[in-house]
């Protein structure tokens, strides 16, 4: 049964996408929403069925389906093949269930948009592409989904194409991820050359068998890492994600929670055996993740646009996941990916509802006191915020973050024989990040929902279609984390056992203050946020913008401007300069030169002839007259000349 269900899982959203796109303009908004939600809904049901089948099977059971051979040629073979194991099982559950909730929400959110068919066509295609990515058992097949999510994100970010800024943001997202894709492609080429196949199992086996030189492994891991960094918006590719807010809010939720940015995490988790062989790259991953999480948190702290705060917080949370991946605790990364999907979707959807009801106002300082106008949304946002901050015990975010922190604490990178890198400083920064996370998200909560009422007024109601998904996500954000607990609490390791039944992640020697520190940091952040922004007369209404560093942070540390100066402007200038085909010009110019030179020679020659003609003008003139008489243009004369000439020639030939 699984052999049929697995392709069907991908086919359902794909079919929904086709139906919706082809019927553009002929179906009503309701029908379109229904088709899209049905497509994703069926695949959600299928993924649940498949998960149950998989879990009831043997612990290391894998469902393999090879649909058809893709390219088989001497020295290389690739198939369109899918595989469901426990890692991809977690992913398909997240993608389809969170995706379904977002689709239901979007059916309400986008009801009045004229381009709803295009919107749902892209959204369902997005889910389908993500499912391909997650289920592929061949890296080349994975690459289809990898590029597919990039394309869909491009289409959705630039969905409101009437504003050039939106399409520019969409292009930026595509270009930046495309650079990563190219790096990933290079990695794939390297692996394919070394192993002759891109089957994930075969590649990992070849790498662990030592079929690839260590430098080759490092290089491949580096290429793949760059691809993942670009897709997941990590330093130095982070700039596309905040701009990606240009799309409709459900799109942002989908990009941030269920699809797209999680692809990088998934890829590295999937190839963790390869990365385990490349220690320097692991260290690099961890360091970049740490930097990103710190930078994202700091930037989020000074933003004033609601959606941008959430975007930077995504970057920061993805930084946590990369940190976990770098430290080898990929189970923790996947766990955080899951809980993050819940609460980030919740936050985005709630923010979308708030923004929609306040007449598209996104500046948090012009919102305020919305607690009274929309209590339900405030509660939902608060739940999401606590989960993001990781308030201890009651939220899902706490458990996943705790898992990452304890993993980081125990790690040691053996870079060279005498030089090892301890995970402790990374742990410290991650803890600081946790504090900052609570600080910035509760800053947002307090400013938007508490405090005095500002100019904007809330209108309308949140439709049921939108509030039901919010309720579900609230539940998941609160309770989704109890399946995995630190050892100091009841040692429950459902999630890591699920992923890796042989070696469940457990740190029995974990000091208790480690967990305590992880629990206290968010609380401290909450407290500080309350002091600064929460009370009736807030200490700080707005972070002063005068300080240069804050202004810099507000623009994302000037990375945008830097890239603009270093890459975009020179590129534009160069393309403008070479706008006309230089080579073509060179060749045409050669032609012109020849022409000019021959003209000059011609002139010189006529000059020479002039002198000649002065010398012998009379004789020449006479001769010219005679010749002119011959050249009279009359056919009969010409014929006579030809005949005469022939006769003369024949005579000479015969007589001589």
């Amino acid at each position: 049964m699984g052999e049929i269900l697995l392709p069907l899982l991908i086919l359902c959203p794909l079919a929904a996408s086709m139906i919706v796109s082809v019927s553009a303009g002929r179906m009503g908004a309701c029908a379109i929403g229904t088709v899209a939600c049905t497509g994703v809904g069926i695949s959600a049901v299928i993924s649940i069925i498949l998960s149950i089948t998989l879990l009831s099977g043997p612990p290391a059971g894998v469902l393999q389906v090879t649909l058809w051979p893709w390219m088989h040629i001497a020295g290389f073979s690739a198939d369109i093949a899918f595989m469901l194991d426990r890692v991809s099982m977690v992913m398909i559950l997240v993608v389809t269930i969170v995706g379904l909730l977002i689709h239901v929400y979007a059916a309400g959110y986008m009801r009045d948009d004229p381009g709803i068919a295009r919107f749902f066509g892209c959204m369902t295609l997005f889910v389908a592409a993500m499912l391909v990515l997650v289920l592929a058992s061949d890296l080349l097949c994975l690459f289809i989904g990898w590029e597919g999510v990039g394309l869909c994100s491009y289409l959705l970010i630039g969905f409101w194409y009437n504003d050039p800024a939106n399409t520019a943001a969409a292009r930026k997202a595509f270009y930046m991820t495309r650079m990563g894709d190219v790096a990933l492609l290079c990695g794939l080429l390297l692996l394919a050359t070394a192993t002759g196949s891109l089957r994930i199992g075969a590649v990992l086996a070849a790498v662990t068998n030592g079929q690839l030189a260590p430098s080759g492994v490092n290089l491949a891991a580096l290429f793949i890492l760059v691809g993942a960094l670009a897709k997941s918006a990590q330093i130095p590719f982070q700039t596309w994600l905040p701009d990606a807010m240009a799309g409709p809010t459900p799109t942002s939720a989908l990009i941030h929670a269920a699809t797209m940015v999680t692809a990088g995490i998934y890829l590295i988790a999937r190839l963790h055996d390869l990365f385990a062989m490349a220690t320097p790259i692991m260290a690099l991953t961890a360091i970049l993740g740490t930097l990103t999480l710190l930078m994202g948190a700091c930037t989020a702290l000074v933003q004033s646009d609601l959606k941008r705060i959430l975007a930077w917080s995504t970057i920061s949370q993805l930084g946590y996941m990369f940190l976990a991946l770098g430290c080898g605790v990929w189970q923790a990364a996947l766990f955080h990916l899951m809980t993050h999907a819940f609460f980030k979707a919740l936050l985005f959807l709630t923010a979308g509802a708030v923004i929609m009801r306040t007449g598209h106002e996104q500046d948090i300082f012009r919102l305020g006191g919305l607690r009274h106008a929309m209590p339900g949304l405030s509660a939902a946002f608060a739940v999401g915020a606590s989960a993001l901050a990781g308030l201890p015990l009651v939220t899902a975010g706490f458990y996943s973050k705790e898992m990452i922190l304890s993993g980081v604490w125990h790690v040691h990178f053996g870079l060279t024989r005498e030089w090892t890198l301890s995970g402790h400083p990374l742990w410290g920064i991650a803890l600081l990040g946790a504090f900052l996370t609570a600080l910035y998200i509760f800053r947002c909560v307090f400013i938007v929902f508490c405090g005095k009422k500002q100019g904007t007024s809330a209108t309308g109601r949140t439709s049921r279609l939108m509030s039901i998904p919010l309720g579900c996500l609230c539940f998941l954000s609160l309770c989704g984390g109890v399946i995995e607990m630190p050892d100091t609490l009841p040692p429950l390791h459902l999630f890591s056992t699920l992923l890796d039944p042989k070696t469940p992640l457990s740190h029995a020697d974990e000091p208790i203050w480690l967990v305590l520190a992880g629990a206290l940091a968010p609380l401290a952040g909450l407290g500080v946020a309350w002091v600064l922004w929460g009370r009736a007369t807030p200490v700080m209404h707005e972070i002063p913008g005068q300080a240069a560093i804050i202004r810099l942070a507000r623009t994302g540390w000037g990375m945008d401007a830097l890239y603009d100066r270093v890459f975009v402007q020179p590129f534009r200038l160069l393309t403008w300069l070479t706008h006309h085909d230089v080579l073509a010009h060179a060749i045409t110019a050669t032609g012109r030169l020849t022409q000019a030179v021959s003209g000059r020679i011609f002139q010189a020659r006529t000059g020479f002839l002039d002198i000649l003609s002065i010398w012998g003008s009379r004789g020449t003139g006479w001769m010219a007259y005679l010749l002119g008489q011959l050249d009279n243009g009359r056919v009969r004369w010409y014929a006579a000349w030809i005949a005469g000439g022939l006769c003369a020639g024949l005579a000479m030939a015969v007589l001589s």
Partner: protein, 107 residues
């Protein structure tokens, strides 16, 4: 039927050719010039047939058919040119009125 020797045929062909050539050179009427050209072509064709008969080779007859076609085409094109000239307002058949062969840029 007495067989003609090859020499007779050559003689006849030469005579025909000379008649044609003289016609081209002397007549000013373009229709007559075309006819004379055809005579010249036929003279050449005659030589081919004669040579074919002399050496018992079919190629001569093939070439004759080719020349026949060529002559037809040539006449057709020539007459078309004459008609064209008429249509363009030069209602004369005198070949000496045209001197475009001289090249237009020399005046």
């Amino acid at each position: 039927m007495p067989a003609f020797s090859f020499n007779d045929i050559l003689l006849l062909a030469t005579t025909l050719f000379s008649v044609g050539l003289a016609g081209v050179l002397v007549r000013r009427n373009m229709v007559f010039m075309l006819m004379s050209l055809d005579i010249m072509l036929n003279a050449a064709a005659l030589v081919f047939v004669g040579a074919g008969a002399r050496w018992h080779d079919a190629t001569g007859q093939v070439m004759f058919v080719l020349i026949l076609a060529l002559a037809a085409v040539e006449t057709a094109v020539g007459l078309a040119i004459i008609l064209c000239l008429h249509a363009h307002g030069r209602p004369t058949l005198d070949a000496d009125t045209g001197n475009l062969l001289r090249g237009w840029n020399h005046g």
